[in-house]
């Protein structure tokens, strides 16, 4: 049970560098919140401020309505899983998991019962007498989670917990974390730079860049309605195609004129463009690879030459060079495309995103 509210939180270091700039964020009870963004965006710093491991330079942090800026981490009742696990090397797995309960002076037999319960739920029962040095990466990860779970904390913080694992194990642990979330019914705050983790685990995703929040929303909305070009480019693989275009109006119909052709704006998008006075102006268009398709020359918005064809099994990624722009297609048509072949492409009009080229804000999705 925890509701965490960040109000106008800023982290400024002694040298004047601002790692986090005036962010506001409301995390409701039982939410799985993901802080995602490129390295240096301030996501880990934000998490560490919630944990109490970094001082807050400005703003207020509330946990269940109580301001906790000056509460030390030991008294916040929040558990954290670290990127490098941070297991105590001189203690056994049992002692590592039991440590927080020992501090709380929980009776020995109850500690024993709870450690065994947690160990069995994480498949650690046979490893309880081992030291962390004798464990594999995945096992260490489980011990780190066990150490967090056993306390029944108000919230779980996870700082890139899967980044030290290999791809296969990462996928497996991701499922385990999702399962854990379902079972524990507690607030999770999870930092990652991996947007697959973000999209699959989170109920709410916070996209950050340069210490600022770019957008906070659920995975579906984030994917379909990005607030700006950065979010549009950050969420989704392969990344969204961006292209320069000019908004024109012909016979009452609004079009985006590209280098090689034009794209009709749907009624809804046309209304937004008219409303914002964009007719006759340059904009940045965006279309996801899965919404870009091959077509005939007459319908084409883009033309170019195939540069790379990647077959992924049930689908294929095709990279097409169009002058100095590159358009990527994600298609389930897996017929091989020769390098250098001339192709024509159009977009699914309803899935077109249009951005302000100056501010990079979304004009219409």
């Amino acid at each position: 049970m925890a509701e965490i509210i960040l109000k106008n939180i800023t982290k400024e270091y002694e040298n004047g560098f601002q790692a986090v700039k005036h962010i506001d964020l409301e995390i409701k009870d039982n939410e799985f919140v993901i802080l995602v963004g490129p390295s240096g965006c301030g996501k880990s710093t934000t998490l560490r401020m919630i944990a109490g491991l970094e001082d807050i330079s400005e703003g207020d942090l509330y946990l269940d309505g109580v301001r906790i800026n000056d509460v030390s981490p030991q008294n916040r009742d929040i558990a954290m899983v670290f990127q490098n696990y941070a297991l105590y090397p001189h203690m056994t797995v049992y002692q590592n998991i039991a440590y927080s309960l020992r501090i709380k002076k929980v009776p020995k037999d109850e500690i024993d019962r709870r450690v065994k319960e947690v160990a069995s739920s994480l498949g650690l029962t046979d490893l309880l007498d081992r030291k962390p040095g004798q464990l594999s990466g995945g096992q260490k990860q489980r011990v780190a989670m066990g150490r967090a779970i056993i306390r029944h904390p108000k919230a779980f913080l996870m700082d890139e917990p899967l980044s030290n694992l290999d791809a296969k194990l990462r996928g497996q642990m991701r499922v385990e974390i999702a399962d854990l979330y379902q079972r524990l019914n507690t607030t999770f705050i999870y930092v990652t730079h991996d947007q697959t983790e973000a999209m699959t685990l989170g109920t709410k995703i916070v996209v950050m860049r340069d210490g600022e929040i770019q957008q906070t929303d659920n995975p579906t909305n984030l994917f379909n309605y990005p607030a700006n070009k950065f979010v549009a480019g950050f969420i989704g693989t392969p990344t969204m195609n961006f292209f320069d275009a000019e908004v024109v109006e012909e016979n009452g119909q609004v079009w985006l004129k590209t280098k090689d052709g034009k794209i009709r704006a749907t009624e809804e998008k046309a209304a937004k463009l008219r409303e914002g006075n964009w007719i006759g102006k340059a904009v940045t268009g965006g279309i996801r690879p899965e919404h870009t398709v091959f077509c005939s020359e007459e319908e084409a918005a883009f033309k170019g030459e195939v540069s790379v064809f990647e077959l992924l099994g049930s689908n294929a990624i095709i990279y097409v060079q169009c002058g100095d722009e590159r358009i990527v297609l994600n298609t389930d048509d897996t017929v091989h495309q020769e390098h250098g072949k001339s192709v024509y492409m159009k977009v699914k009009e309803s899935r077109l995103h249009i951005f302000d080229p100056e501010t990079e804000r979304t004009i219409t999705n």
């Binding site: 002694e14 944990a51 109490g52 491991l53 001082d55 030390s72 981490p73 030991q74 008294n75 929040i78 558990a79 954290m80 670290f82 990127q83 490098n84 941070a86 297991l87 105590y88 090397p89 001189h90 440590y99 927080s100 501090i103 709380k104 040095g133 150490r147 306390r151």
Partner: protein
């Protein structure tokens, strides 16, 4: 085979090299150990034999020298004084040193580097330069000529702070942060997480400072006058010049010196493994 790698050189060359090593190391070893051996040997001689340089080993070992030191002299009392005063001092030095080193390494605060600079700056100061101010402070506090004064004036060891800081810096900060998140106070994190991981630094610190406090002569002799409060070095000197017998009771002086060293040798034998580790910078953390 005990060789680490195969040696294809001819046998005579290898023997020659071995002999060379034995010669160099043996000579260095004898030079280092000779005064000590001489002391032990002399402690079993008569007064006359000591001054007779043509005889090295005692023809008739005088065990009575040792027994008279153990049972009829104040030396055991001085050993006891030295031992418990050193023990208390080292305990206080470990506590204060560990706390400061922890703050320097794991806490973020303004002036952290400056503080460390000042601490190290005092290390550069000649010890004798602090005698007068320390003496005046102890006099003001009415602690001259007392165990209290001896202990209070040595509660902080700069060397120890430095040694522990170097050890602590090998520990990933995440471990202390994890302990904090687990609900541990800084005090618990220091003694339950950091200390067990830097055991050899603590043992090295404890042993080295125990030896130097145990043997300390100059400072205790400045602040204590009553023989009840003497530590061994000072006690030895008092014993040496007792009753105006300056330099006449050599055999007993040697026996007393030998007896005084025994506790240190025993201590060293038990902690040797950790001691060497600590000096080598090994903190017991692997991989």
């Amino acid at each position: 085979m005990n060789t680490r790698y195969s040696d294809n050189r001819p046998l005579p060359l290898r023997i020659l090299e071995l002999l060379g090593k034995i010669l160099i190391l043996g000579t260095a070893g004898i030079f280092t150990a000779f005064p000590f051996i001489w002391m032990i040997v002399s402690s079993l001689k008569t007064k006359a034999d000591i001054l007779n340089t043509s005889v090295f080993f005692p023809p008739d070992p005088q065990w009575s020298n040792i027994t008279s030191i153990l049972f009829d002299s104040p030396i055991p009392k001085y050993i006891f004084n030295s031992a418990w005063v050193s023990l208390v001092i080292v305990a206080l030095q470990i506590i204060s040193g560990a706390m400061l080193a922890y703050a320097l390494v794991f806490l973020k605060f303004r002036g952290n580097k400056l503080l460390f600079g000042i601490v190290m700056g005092t290390y550069m100061l000649p010890v004798a330069a602090t005698y007068i101010p320390s003496y005046i402070i102890l006099a003001d506090w009415h602690m001259l000529d007392s165990f209290k004064g001896l202990i209070i004036s040595s509660t902080v060891s700069i060397f120890g702070i430095f040694l522990l800081r170097q050890g602590f810096m090998q520990i990933p900060k995440g471990l202390v942060e994890a302990a904090r998140m687990d609900g541990a106070s800084h005090w618990r994190a220091l003694w339950e997480i950091v200390c067990p991981m830097t055991k050899s630094s603590f043992i090295t610190f404890g042993l080295m400072n125990f030896i130097s406090t145990y043997n300390n002569y100059m400072w205790p002799s400045l602040i204590t006058k009553t023989s009840n409060y003497f530590l061994v070095s000072q006690g030895l000197r008092a014993f040496f010049i007792r009753d105006g017998a300056y330099g006449t009771e050599w055999a007993l002086v040697m026996a007393a010196s030998a007896v005084v060293v025994v506790p240190l040798l025993i201590l060293f034998a038990f902690t040797q493994k950790w001691f060497i580790n600590g000096i080598g910078g090994e903190t017991g953390i692997k991989g």
